[in-house]
Amino acid sequence: MSATNIRAQLSDSISAVLSNKIAGRELRWYLSGWRLGIILLVVCIILPFVLDGIDPSLVTTSIAIGTYIILALGLNIVVGYAGLLDLGYVAFFVIGSYTVAVGTYGFLQNAQGKSIPIPSFSGQLFWLLIPLAALLACLFGILLGAPTLRLRGDYLAIVTLGFGEIVPIVFQNVPWFFGQFGMSASPPPDVGPITFSDPLNQYPFYYLTLALVVLVILGVTSLRGSSIGRAWIAIREDETAASVAGVNLVRTKLMAFGLGALVGGIGGALNAAFVSSIAPSDFNFNISITILIMIVLGGLGSIPGVIVGAIVLRFVDVYLLGKINDAVHGLPLVSGSGAPLHFLNNVDFNTAKFLIYGLILMFMILLRPQGLIPDVRRKRELQGIGASAEGASAVGLLEREEAGEDEAGGETTTVGAGSDAQGRED
C-alpha cells in the first residue's frame, strides 16, 4: 500500500505501454537514442506555433529558456563532467555579451568620456561575432584556468567566484565600455526575407536559438563519449587514479574549463543579441548560482537532466513568477487596502525565488544528490559504490557476493541496501 507499491504499479503500466508494437517495433525502440532526439526536435520546431496560440509571450520565454539551456550545458562540462566547481561562470556570459555589444555598437568611450567610432561587424559579418565571442570566452577560461586548476576543489570554487565578481567590475570601471550604463547590441541582420529586428515576430529568433541549442547539445554529447570526456569522468571520480592511469590532469581540466567557457560565450552572444541592451549590473553571482542550481536540480553530468533543470527554473523565473505575482496581487482578498491578506501585496514573488533556489540546493543535495534525471554513472558514485561501468569494482563485487546475487539485475538492490546502511550509520 506504500509509495513503493504505487511506483511499481506505475512503472509496470508504463512498461506495458512502451511494449506496444508499431510497424514491427516496440514503442520503446522509437523513444530511445537518436530517434527520441529527432522526435523532440520536431516538437521544438512546431512548438512556437502552439505557444503563440496559448500566450504570445511564451515564445519570448522560450528564447530566454534556450539561452540558459546553452549556459547550463556549458557549465555542466565543468561541474558535471570534470567535477570542478565553478562559481563564476557568469564571467564568460559577460565576455560573450560584451563581444557582441562592442562588435555591433560602433563606438567606444575614451577616458575623457568621449565616444570614439570603431569599425563594427555590420551586415552579415554579425555572424562572425558568435564564434568570436565563443573564442574570446574560451581564451579567458584558459587564462583563468592555467594558474588556478592546480588548486583543490573548494579553493578553485572561491577563485572562480572572485573571477566572476571581478569581470563585471572591470567592464564597469575601465573606460571604453560606458561604465554602469552599459552598451546596446544590434540584433542579427536580415537574412533574405527573415528579419530578426521585428519585436512582434520572434519566430526567427526562436529558430536561431533552437539551432544554437541543438548545436551545443550535439557538441556536449559527442564530447562526453570522446576520450577527453572519459578522462574528465576519470578525474572527477578519482584524481589520483586517473593521473596514475596516464591522464594529464592539468591539461584535461584546462580543456573542461576552456570548452565550458566557450559554450558560455555562445550563450552570452545570443543573450546580447536578444536583449539588445546590457549593463554590468545585469551580471552577478546570482546568475552563476542560478545556472549551478539548474544543473544540480536536473542531475550533475546528465544532459537531459540539465536541459530539464534549465527549462523548469527559467520558465518559473521569467514566466510563472510574474503570473503568480499578478494573480495573487489581484485577488479580492489581497488587492483592497483594507483586505485581510493585504500584506501579500508587498510580497514580491520574484524575490522569493531566491529562497526557493536556496531550498532546492539544500534539499537536492541532502535528499536526492543525483538530481531529477540522474546520470547513471554519477548516481553510483554518489551512492558510494565503485563507479566502473559494470559495477565491477572491488566494493561492488564484494557486496554482491555477500548478498548472494550474481545477476546484473541484483546490482541495483544491493546498491540500495548499501546506501541505506550508510544512512543509518549517520
Binding site: G83, L85, L87, P147, T148, R150, L151, R152, G153, D154, Y155, A157, I158, V159, L161, G162, F163, E165, I166, I169, V170, Q172, N173, F285, I289, L292, V296, V347, T351, A352, F354, L355, Y357, G358, L359, I360, L361, M362, I365, L366, P369, E381, L382, G384, Q422, D426
Partner: protein
C-alpha cells in the same frame, strides 16, 4: 563597499593620510579577523568552506539592529548605560549567530559529512541564499542606518585621528582572540577540537564526542561573527541584507591569506587584508570601485603561489 567611503571620509581631517589609512586598516582588520576565525575554525575541523558564514554574520547585524530599534536608542550613550547596552548587544549578537551556525551544521552539514567533497559546499551556498532572502523578504532591500550609540571623540597621534570606537573595536577583537587561543590550547574541549581536526576517527576512538566537538566549533565560530556584527554596526553603521556576502568573501580571503585552518593565520590575514584594502582605497585611482577586485587579486595570487597561506607552514598548530 560604498559604505567604507563614508567612514573614511569622516577621518579625512587628519594630516597624515598614510598613517590614517594604517589606523583605519587596523580597525577594519580587527573586524575581518573575527569573521575570518569562523571560517578557519570550521575549515580546520571539517574541511568545509562555510559559505553561509557571512550571512550568519549578517543575521547578527540585523537582529542587534532590531534590538537597538526596539530600545529606542538614537544618541550616543555614556557610563553604565553604554556598558550595559554594549554587553547586551554583544551577548545577543553572539547568541544569534552562534545558534544559527550550529543549527545549520546540525540540519545540513552533519548529514553530508561522508558525501563527496563538494556536496556540503553546495549545501552551504543554498543556506547562504536562504538566509539572505529571508532578510530580504522581511526587511526589504533598503539600507538601514544603525543609530549612533557609541560616544564620539578620540585623539590625534602623528597626524592620524584615532576614535575611541576604533580602540574599543581593536581591544574587543584582540581580547576575544586571546580568549579563543587560551580556550583551544588549555581546556579539555580545546584539546578535543585539536584532536578532531587532526584525525576525527582516532579522536573518536580516544573517547572524544565528535558531533559535540564539531557543534561547539560552529558555536564558537558563529559567536565570533556575532561579536563582529555588533562592531560592524557601530563602525560602518549600515544594515543591509547583502552585507554578509561581500564581508564573508573578504574574511574568507583573510583566512586563506594567513593559512586556512590556522587561527593565528586568520588573525594575521584579517589585519593584513584590512590594511591592503584601506591603502588600496587611498592610493589606487578610483580605489573604492576597485577595492573588492584588489582583495580578490590578493586571494588568487596567494592561492596560486602559496596555497598554504603566509603562516601555513611556520605555525603547525592547526585547529
Amino acid at each position: 563597499m560604498l559604505t567604507l567611503a563614508s567612514v573614511f571620509a569622516a577621518n579625512s581631517s587628519s594630516s597624515n593620510i598614510f598613517l590614517q589609512q594604517i589606523e583605519n586598516g587596523i580597525t577594519l582588520g580587527a573586524m575581518y579577523a573575527l569573521v575570518a576565525l569562523g571560517y578557519t575554525l570550521v575549515y580546520g575541523i571539517i574541511e568545509l568552506i562555510n559559505f553561509a558564514h557571512g550571512d550568519i554574520f549578517m543575521w547578527g547585524t540585523v537582529i542587534t539592529f532590531i534590538v537597538v530599534q526596539m530600545m529606542g536608542l538614537n544618541h550616543p550613550l555614556s557610563g553604565f548605560a553604554l556598558v550595559g547596552v554594549l554587553l547586551l548587544l554583544i551577548i545577543i549578537g553572539m547568541a544569534v549567530s552562534a545558534f544559527l551556525n550550529a543549527g545549520l551544521e546540525r540540519v545540513a552539514y552533519r548529514r553530508l559529512r561522508k558525501a563527496p567533497r563538494l556536496a556540503p559546499l553546495i549545501a552551504a551556498i543554498g543556506a547562504s541564499f536562504i538566509l539572505e532572502t529571508i532578510v530580504q523578504l522581511w526587511r526589504g532591500t533598503n539600507f538601514y542606518a544603525f543609530p549612533d550609540i557609541f560616544p564620539h571623540g578620540g585623539f590625534t597621534i602623528f597626524g592620524a585621528r584615532v576614535n575611541y570606537l576604533d580602540i574599543f573595536i581593536v581591544v574587543l577583537a584582540v581580547a576575544m582572540m586571546y580568549g579563543l587561543a587560551r580556550f583551544i590550547n588549555t581546556t579539555k574541549l580545546g584539546r578535543a577540537m585539536r584532536a578532531t581536526a587532526q584525525d576525527p576517527e582516532a579522536a573518536a576512538l580516544m573517547g572524544v564526542n565528535i558531533n559535540r566537538t564539531i557543534s561547539i566549533t560552529f558555536l564558537i565560530g558563529g559567536a565570533l561573527a556575532g561579536a563582529a556584527a555588533v562592531v560592524y554596526n557601530m563602525y560602518i553603521g549600515q544594515v543591509w541584507y547583502l552585507t554578509g556576502f561581500q564581508l564573508g568573501l573578504i574574511a574568507f580571503t583573510a583566512a586563506v591569506l594567513g593559512g586556512i585552518g590556522n587561527i593565528y593565520g586568520a588573525v594575521f590575514g584579517g589585519f593584513l587584508i584590512g590594511l591592503i584594502q584601506s591603502l588600496a582605497i587611498q592610493f589606487i585611482p578610483g580605489g573604492f570601485q576597485w577595492s573588492l577586485a584588489v582583495v580578490f587579486a590578493v586571494l588568487v595570487l596567494i592561492l596560486v603561489f602559496r596555497p598554504s597561506g603566509l603562516l601555513g607552514q611556520q605555525v603547525p598548530d592547526k585547529v
